[in-house]
């Protein structure tokens, strides 16, 4: 088994030296193996998005190293890491270019991390390939290849973003509350699609969610974050047998915080 992601002693402090100083990640360590589907839970401000942003390279970390599939990416900005990473964001608007056509978006994604030269942006074969891929989403999008993505619904756009993240198989798929902006029914559809895409492409994925039931139901491993650290890490059979109540108790044990307070934050 290869390690797909290694986070070693990561520190990140926002606004250091000011009254707004916030230690968002404190000596964070995490190793993900190939094929791991990791769900991440934790209260607001626990550092979940900060961890994903550190991996994606939105800004440099203060200390520590980040290795993706054997490549040390600590010193690389986001666009240079993009060949290794697929991302789906919380806001459905973020993942796609609204004023461009559906097929243009897909073409942009299938060239992730490649040199963009003066060849035509989409070939005929690619277009057929996209049509096939879109069919698997089962949203009728295969007939709307030339529609502007801005015309699609939030759920459709998240599904397209997922497809875009997997067209050029990434070493790591980062999902930050990617169903939080969707209605429950659509959220479920997108989650199932996520699982389908992850297993079909045998992807290594990290998914942040506020829904404890989803965190337990999806993936093979679960971590809980609290104040910039991972306070709980469970996998395999043990994870499958978890209950929401158990998770909340664990949280109470480790953080020493009131159960009732965090319950509302965590379980939603």
């Amino acid at each position: 088994m290869t390690d797909m992601l290694v986070l070693k002693n990561i520190h990140k402090t926002f606004n250091p030296g000011t009254i707004n100083e916030k230690k968002a990640l404190i000596n964070l360590n995490l190793v993900m193996e190939e094929g791991d589907f990791l769900t991440v839970i934790g209260g607001n401000g626990a550092g979940k998005s900060t961890m994903l942003n550190a991996v994606a390279g939105v800004w440099p970390v203060d200390e520590g190293s980040i290795t993706i599939a054997g490549t040390d990416v600590t010193g690389l900005p986001d666009y240079k890491r993009a060949s290794l990473i697929g991302r789906v964001f919380q806001d459905p608007m973020t993942g796609t270019a609204a004023s461009m056509q559906l097929e243009e978006n897909l073409a942009l994604a299938s060239r992730r991390g490649k040199k963009r030269g003066l060849a035509w942006q989409i070939s005929k074969e690619e277009r057929e390939h996209y049509r096939e891929e879109l069919k698997t989403l089962d949203l009728g999008l295969e007939d709307r290849l030339t529609a502007k993505v801005g015309l699609l619904s939030g759920g459709q756009r998240q599904a397209v973003t997922l497809l875009m993240a997997s067209l050029q198989k990434p070493k790591l798929l980062l999902l930050d509350e990617h169903t939080a902006a969707l209605d429950p029914k659509t959220a479920k559809k997108v989650l199932d699609l996520t699982e389908k895409i992850v297993s079909r492409n045998n992807l290594t994925a990290m998914m942040v969610t506020h829904n404890m039931r989803d965190a337990i139901a999806y993936g093979n491993r679960l971590i809980m974050m609290y104040e910039g650290q991972i306070i709980f890490d469970i996998r395999g059979e043990e994870k499958k047998n978890l209950t929401v109540e158990e998770l909340l108790r664990k949280f109470e044990d480790v953080s020493g915080e009131e159960f009732a307070d965090e319950k509302s934050l965590l379980s939603k």
């Binding site: 666009y79 993009a82 990473i85 270019a97 073409a107 992730r112 003066l118 035509w120 942006q121 875009m164």
Partner: protein
């Protein structure tokens, strides 16, 4: 009504139609300038004020090289190069030094004023005569000027249609449409911004070079307000394109309408001048046109759904409820 005004001011309709061909030729040149502006304004979503300077730079470089005996096409090619560099500088000020977009453009534009004077040996105005020099385009022969202009515009539209359909061109468009998404797809958005600004200003410099030949001189102030005129062309073109062909327009079609927008804009100017408006008031007039065209879509949306309207509706319902 129209005839009364015409008679009252003693205007001659024959003069008006007589000046249309020259107006069309100038309109095409402004339309070419607008093609350049389209890249920053519409594709990159970057309000680039460099263009006022680059238009003059294009004129200055072209005229000086013509006076040095250069072939006009080669002279314009060098002008394009000067425009590319100017655009690069604005792009680097913005992306490498973190200077806000508008200010980056203003800084380059202002410095170009000095540079343009230097190019023209510190003279504000340099003439080039069609009788002594070979020009690519001149107002002495309007029909061939129009033909040359149309050919240049057509070639540029074809080139832009091709380029912005390539992987690189679509990366520029993606950068303008959604920078966040572009980075996630591995696009170096800073590089794309610099590239787009360079290409845009290259085209603007080219149009400046064409204009200088057409009018027979380069002037350090010839680009003043170019951005507003370019915007006028882009917006008039879009409004016309939407009205006439609605959604059926592809990218090349939209670009063609930008050039048509330039022609329409300039014909309006011709009419206004013919109505004896003081030419010094032209810039005021142009700004008003652009402000109106920019405001109309906003106001139209606003009239459908605004806080004021919502407030009025609420008050009215309340009153109705009180009556019951």
């Amino acid at each position: 009504m129209g005839t009364i005004i015409l008679q009252a001011s003693g205007l001659n309709i024959g003069n008006l139609f007589g000046s249309f061909p020259a107006g069309i030729a100038q309109g095409i040149i402004w339309g070419i300038m607008a093609l350049g502006l389209y890249i920053t304004f519409r594709l990159l979503d970057f309000a680039d004020l460099t263009v006022d300077g680059t238009f003059s730079t294009g004129g200055a470089v072209t005229v000086m090289l013509l006076l040095a005996g250069w072939n006009p096409w080669l002279a314009m090619l060098v002008a394009v190069g000067a425009g590319l560099i100017s655009g690069c500088i604005t792009g680097l000020l913005h992306t490498r030094l973190g200077i806000p977009a508008i200010l980056s453009g203003i800084l380059t534009q202002l410095s170009l004023y000095s540079i343009n004077l230097a190019i023209m040996d510190m003279k504000a105005n340099t003439a080039v005569s069609a009788s002594k020099t070979t020009l690519a385009i001149t107002s002495r022969s309007i029909p061939s000027a129009i033909l040359t202009g149309v050919i240049i515009a057509a070639v540029l539209i074809a080139a832009m249609y091709w380029y912005f359909g390539t992987e690189q061109g679509s990366a520029i468009r993606a950068t303008g449409s959604n920078p966040e998404m572009s980075k996630a797809q591995g696009i170096d958005i800073n590089r794309m911004k610099v590239l787009g600004l360079a290409l845009s200003n290259g085209l603007v410099a080219l149009s400046g070079g064409i204009m200088a030949q057409f009018q027979g001189f380069a002037d350090v102030g010839m680009g003043r307000g170019a951005i507003v005129i370019g915007l006028a062309a882009v917006i008039i073109g879009e409004v016309l394109g939407d009205a006439l062909l609605a959604k059926k327009l592809n990218f090349a079609g939209r670009l063609a309408f930008v050039v048509i927008g330039g022609i329409v804009y300039y014909l309006v100017i011709v009419i206004v001048l013919w109505m004896k408006l003081n030419p010094n008031l032209l810039k005021l007039f142009t700004s008003i046109i652009v402000a109106v065209f920019l405001a109309v879509p906003y106001l139209r949306a606003e009239s459908k759904a605004s806080f004021k309207k919502a407030g009025r509706n609420a008050v009215r319902r309340q009153k109705e409820a009180d009556h019951d």
